[in-house]
Symmetry: C2
Subunit: 710 residues, 2 copies
């Protein structure tokens, strides 16, 4: 639908010129008309006789509403009359409303009474838009009515929203089924509703000065959707967009920073216990093969390497400078980095915004921008890039290479990442501390890891997104290629920036993160350990080719709990076709249960596990397997682990790779079996029936979002 | 309120005599009147004139409804007219309804038209009752309307419900806030609603033949609550109550079974690999000090012990017989146990109901009942009672004594319990397999563990409760003394037994378990690992004296995630009083953050942790602590662990014991620190910010339910 931007521009200019921020109802209608947002027939009457005439013209019943820029809450002011059924009632109503309004606010300009076609029937919904400080314009959708307000059943998408986004909103609320028609009611027109959502989202995207918009209620029927009431609030000084370097520049600089050929250590030291010493040790002992330039004004040599007084004295090109000096010296050293054209500075020092030194941080940000030096931190542990054997950090060295790239906003969480990774032998490509995020942030990392072949999954802990809009845009693209997992900490309901509107008041900050992350194809982890387990398991799992999950279990009890977990995590337990059921039954005792779970029963020999798992991999209707192992003397843990690894290997050699996860119930030997399975690319968990399903479900969420299933 | 049981009895007798199961509206009204359930004024008209007269008498508007025992869905039949406003409309309405009803079902007996005062305003709610096969009579409460149907926002309690139960139902639905009045609406009368719930619950408890009851809608206002429509369905052959031994008999027998002085092993064997050999080995090597009697018809001695042909040949008293023989021999051997007056049989053999051999199971149940032999199993791994060094099982021996008593319905889950317990050094008092639960079930175990001083927490995995009503009654009592954790597997929505009513259709089986377990003071675990972690941690935690939780953290990032977890788990982060805030600030760097979390910042020495934790224990306004540790060189993991244990010990010696849990972020050394802390009674978790909060929250849930807080 073509939108008439000029018409909206004219209306907004007039509102601004009159010194107002809210639009009157007729102005709101004008905006809606220009953007294909259906509203009821209406007109403004300036006399009782005119009210009667207008009403008779559009057909009864009608609603009468006061028109006054000063009166926002019309009902409170006694400025609304619904269900007006005759010309006589319309005449009387005009007088009543004008009198009420005058009593409510004697100073208000009463421009007349709006006569509006009265809508009823269908389903009442709310469509609106808000402005979030991080994500910018968002479109909102929810059911109307007081109950929804109590339940906060509302969903958000970045504006502009695509048709697909808009349709997903209809299913994105808890009570979404009501739109499909219950108790014999007609289903609403999904097309009409989605179209309305799209138009609202395009409107606020086109006009950044529209801070908030409420269509409440919208009457949705099987034939269409009409906004009965329109509220638009403007902000004539919208926040400027955050500075973003160009994509190609980010890629170029981040590649030099993350995979440098030459590293300078500013504040390098020979003295044990100093951060500048730990960084040097980690670089050297970590096995980094590039050039290392220690910078120290009062040393000629540090740990066997020639030291320089300044980066400017280094003869060759430097890709990144790691700072291990007190905060107060950072600005000067950073300027030198700029003059030396070093593209990146890793700012380990604390003492900036996190301690209240906001000016100090702004100073280095300005220097970085001036010289084109990208800043990592400050207030970080540094970073690791394992495939270069690079430990640019004061923490302990880490060298277990793999394909998970992790980052954390907090140093403590970074240490937990390092500890878990080492303990669980989780191969990582990189671990990055982002700290105060004065410059480099999550979307810079996404942009780098997107094109980094050593990285197969990107996992990020964050407490905020300085530029959620940019993150979402990059994530939407990157998540099509590689899974992104985000642990968003700090789930307090701060509300969106401007919360004077109805929609705004319903906008819990965390709900927005939740919806936008999903819209961007991001897998959201709810807790730290969950994030870590996802990082470890997801890259091991092949991408499923379809939704059919089958559980094969030796322990009936595990089967039930695994089924519960599948339901909880939106995995589809395959309805077992009769022929496949019969095929499974051939391998299991007569009292075992086929169906799904396939319960092979507890006392079975290795062969039974083998046969059934083989069948599960063979049959193309099955897309994923969850195995439940029960420790017995007949099939001990390691025998089971080896047979599973063998069967999986056999099928991978044939080109058949399906995701398999394992739950192990047994005595402590199952821990060794789980480790063996993990080492062979099969995520396995002792004493847990939920984690094997959660990691599989996370892979599915990603694959669905990336459009790889169905 | 006194209830008129005789009146109800008379009505029900008449309904039964007429061969019906559903009550007509007037009969329903009669029942309501007898139990103090307010209903609108009404009368039945058998002519149009009478309808007009009745309506005029009670005042307009009125509702007209067909009265016919055959027509249950009146609206569908065109048998309802609402908003009848004049005598003339009433006359016409009578004719219309009678005609519609005849068209709908020509064979239906049309007894007339009910004329009813039309209620409106207030909040529409549903109150009802259902009969669950496990829990018996349940009362239900939810909001009215189609939206609630979509959201399934309804809550259940065992009937009869106390006033307190009834009040908790008003807060037990998602949308409960709406009853408090939103957008200027009046709050409803909580007393009136709770009273109505109580009366309904008493009614169905008094009359087991009332299978289902619907009051839908009930109009709740600030002054009262009136049921606008009543539906009652009877079942003239209600299921008989399950057989339950008397409490004292259970205690006597279970004590002999669980803590026997003499054990017979039926099917004892010298042959390695046989179950009867494993059981003998476990008894002997496990260190059991009581008498062991091997039973084997073809051996004189087994593992150095004199063998007997039958239990009847044993000279002394036997407390329990462990069965390690094939299913087909069980009945005969069990009869001998009965004749020997052995009070308990541990039935390891499989091959009963779980393989379809229901008759075999019924046979042994009958023998057990006849002779008063309590049956554990069949189809189980047996049981452990560590304080007697008793391993009456074919699994590996287990000897880490402690205070958690665990049971599982499934053998696989039992093995996971054993493995986790051993790996995590979780002290247990008992591990029990319940298998087919032909006799001994969860409430027998509760009854035993209630009075077992070695048990401080009771943890149960189950897939069903054969007698949920009895379990709930016992759990309600026991949970006042000891925490009970239940992992209920199998959360499919099977619905309550009779689901022809509105309330019934809303009754998901799992929702009933959820509500009744909560009503019984049980902590429900959602997943296997969660259950195990609760079992391990809860007994270590002192009972909190109040709701105020304070987080003290070295890692700001952990603090945020721990706060999130507190919100998610309904823990109250204490609002920090100014004086306490100032006291904390004295110990932490100026840029650290007091408030709650108390962020001591990352680089602090042991002293800072010490001082702040000490203050947290000292100040009586703080009731619980959650610590967030960040691994640094200044305060390494074991230094932290030791100082925490020391401070806690110091305060325990002074009689101050508050629950403390710890989250450890750091390199792998934090795993050792976590183990050390756990060994010193302080639940601690590496790489997890959720588990320390979840276990504390579980302790709180228990303490609140047991009335130990506030």
């Amino acid at each position: 639908m073509a939108h008439d931007k000029n018409a909206v521009r004219k209306i907004l200019d007039a509102v601004k010129a009159s010194g107002r921020t809210s639009l009157t109802a007729p102005e709101g209608k004008g905006v809606c008309d220009a953007y294909g947002i259906p509203v009821p027939k209406e007109g403004v009457a300036t006399s009782a006789a005119e009210a009667a005439k207008l009403a008779s013209g559009m057909g009864f019943p009608v609603v009468l509403k006061i028109v006054s820029p000063e009166i926002l809450h019309k009902t409170e002011a006694g400025g609304v009359l619904v269900g007006v059924r005759t010309a006589e009632e319309a005449e009387k109503g005009f007088a009543t409303i004008m009198a009420n309004a005058k009593k409510y606010d004697a100073k208000a300009n009463l421009l007349g009474v709006q006569v509006q076609q009265m809508l009823s029937g269908g389903q009442e919904v709310i469509i609106g838009a808000v402005t979030d400080p991080s994500f910018g314009k968002l479109v909102a959708f929810g059911l109307g009515g007081v109950l929804v307000e109590v339940l906060k059943d509302i969903t958000f998408r970045l504006a502009p929203a695509t048709k697909e986004d808009a349709l997903s909103m209809l299913d994105g609320i808890q009570a979404g089924d009501i739109l499909k028609g219950v108790r014999g009611a007609d289903p609403v027109s999904r097309d009409a509703l989605a179209g309305l959502i799209e138009n609202v989202s395009q409107l606020v995207a086109d006009f950044p000065e529209i801070a908030e918009m409420d269509l409440n209620p919208v009457f949705a029927t099987k034939n269409g959707a009409t906004a009965a009431d329109v509220r638009i609030v403007c902000d004539w000084n919208p926040a400027p967009a955050r500075y973003r370097p160009k994509h190609d520049d980010i890629v170029r600089d981040m590649n030099r920073i993350m995979k440098p050929d030459a590293v300078a250590v500013i504040g390098a030291s020979s003295e044990a216990g100093k951060i500048g010493n730990s960084v040097m040790k980690n670089l050297i002992n970590g096995g980094y093969q590039g050039k290392i330039y220690p910078i120290n004004p009062s040393a000629d040599e540090i740990m066997g390497l020639k030291a320089y007084k300044s980066v400017k004295d280094i003869p060759g090109v430097v890709d990144v400078a790691v700072f291990a000096i007190p905060a107060k010296f950072v600005a000067a050293a950073l300027t030198e980095c700029g003059e030396k054209k070093i593209p990146g500075a890793v700012l380990i020092p604390s003492g900036f915004a996190e301690t209240g030194n906001v000016e100090g941080q702004e100073e280095i940000q300005a220097i970085g921008r001036k010289y084109g030096v990208r800043l990592m931190g400050p207030n970080i542990y540094g970073f690791y890039y394992t495939w270069k054997n690079l430990c640019a950090t004061f923490c302990t060295a880490y060298d277990y290479k793999g394909h998970a790239a992790l980052s954390s906003q907090s140093g403590g969480i970074g240490m937990a990442i390092i500890g878990f990774s080492r303990s669980a032998k989780m191969g990582v490509s990189a671990i990055v501390g982002l700290g105060n995020k004065s410059d480099i942030d999550e979307d810079d990392l996404l942009t780098f890891f997107e094109q980094d072949d050593n990285t197969h999954i990107i996992v990020q802990h964050c407490e905020d997104l300085k530029d959620g809009r940019s993150f979402a845009e990059v994530a939407k693209r990157v998540s099509k290629k590689k899974p992104i997992v985000v642990l968003k900490a700090g789930r307090t309901a701060m509300g969106a920036k401007a919360a004077s509107s109805h929609t705004g008041a319903l906008a819990g900050n965390d709900k927005i993160y939740d919806d936008v992350l999903r819209q961007s194809g991001v897998i959201r982890a709810k807790a730290l350990r969950e994030m870590l387990e996802y990082a470890r398991a997801i890259p091991k799992l092949p991408t499923p080719k379809g939704e059919n999950v089958v559980i094969i279990t030796g322990a009936g009890g595990s089967g039930v709990l695994l089924s519960d977990a599948c339901v909880d995590n939106d995995l589809k337990l395959m309805a077992m076709p009769a022929d496949l059921d019969a095929a499974f039954r051939k391998f299991i005792p007569p009292f075992g249960a086929a169906g799904n779970p396939v319960d092979i029963t507890g006392g079975e020999p290795p062969k039974t596990y083998q046969n059934t798992i083989r069948l599960g991999l063979e049959d193309p209707r099955i897309h994923s397997l969850v195995l439940g192992y029960w420790h017995t003397i007949v099939t001990p843990p390691m025998v089971f682990a080896k047979l599973v690894a063998e069967v999986v290997e056999e099928f991978r050699a044939k080109g058949i790779a399906k995701p398999i996860t394992v739950s192990l119930a047994g005595d402590v030997e199952v821990e060794e079996a789980a480790e063996y399975l993990f080492d062979h690319g099969i995520p396995a968990y002792p004493y847990s029936t939920e984690m094997p399903v959660m990691v599989l479900a996370a892979k599915y969420r990603w694959a669905r979002g990336a459009g790889l299933i169905k």
